[in-house]
């Protein structure tokens, strides 16, 4: 009965590879997000979707492409991975953008 789930939990890959992280929420929320937490624990929003529509797209490289097949899912695809992409990526959801956000457990991405 996990509210916001992410897979995989850990991802170790080589530079230059393409990888995806999946996120699902079963809370019926309209808004979903992707955040990046760097090695210094700094959290920064990357994307926000509302009802499958992109509403926030921060300054992230084009190599990052979010995809929302339906309201309950927001996946993150990363092309041509670089060393600097190593971080913990958190998915979150909320009823609307003014409300409390519920976070997934995070995906620790390590690029070698």
């Amino acid at each position: 009965d996990t509210a916001v789930s992410q897979t995989p939990k850990y991802l170790v890959t080589q530079m230059g590879n393409d990888k995806s992280i999946k996120c699902e929420q079963n809370l019926g929320h309209d808004t979903m997000y992707w955040y990046k937490q760097d090695s210094k624990k700094f959290l920064k929003i990357m994307f926000s979707y509302n009802n499958k529509e992109l509403i926030i797209n921060e300054t992230v490289p084009n190599r990052f492409s979010p995809k929302s097949p339906d309201k309950a899912h927001l996946n993150l695809h990363i092309n041509s991975l670089e060393l600097g992409d190593s971080a913990v990526y958190f998915c979150a959801s909320s009823p609307d953008s003014n409300n409390e956000q519920f976070f997934g457990p995070g995906t620790r991405l390590t690029v070698l």
């Binding site: 700094f42 929003i45 926030i56 979150a92 953008s97 003014n98 409390e100 956000q101 995070g106």
Partner: protein
Amino acid sequence: AQRVTQPEKLLSVFKGAPVELKCNYSYSGSPELFWYVQYSRQRLQLLLRHISRESIKGFTADLNKGETSFHLKKPFAQEEDSAMYYCALIPRTAGNKLTFGGGTRVLVKP
């Protein structure tokens, strides 16, 4: 654009001592403010928000619009309070986004 500053990266206190985590924000309008907490190996979760005016796990936070601050306080820290704490702000406008401070790690020593 909004900004949230948490000046302390690390706060180390003894069990039973008071703890105060500072949070200052800059935003020209009227924001919604939150404190999120991340315990070791757990997901980020909401601790409290200013509009609810609640005390959660003994923590309180008061919004001071004059000083643009939202400091988090607890009179008697417990070991289980050791965690990473993030102050966050949402502006009350369309397309608003949650902006986090840099986080403060709290270590409560026995």
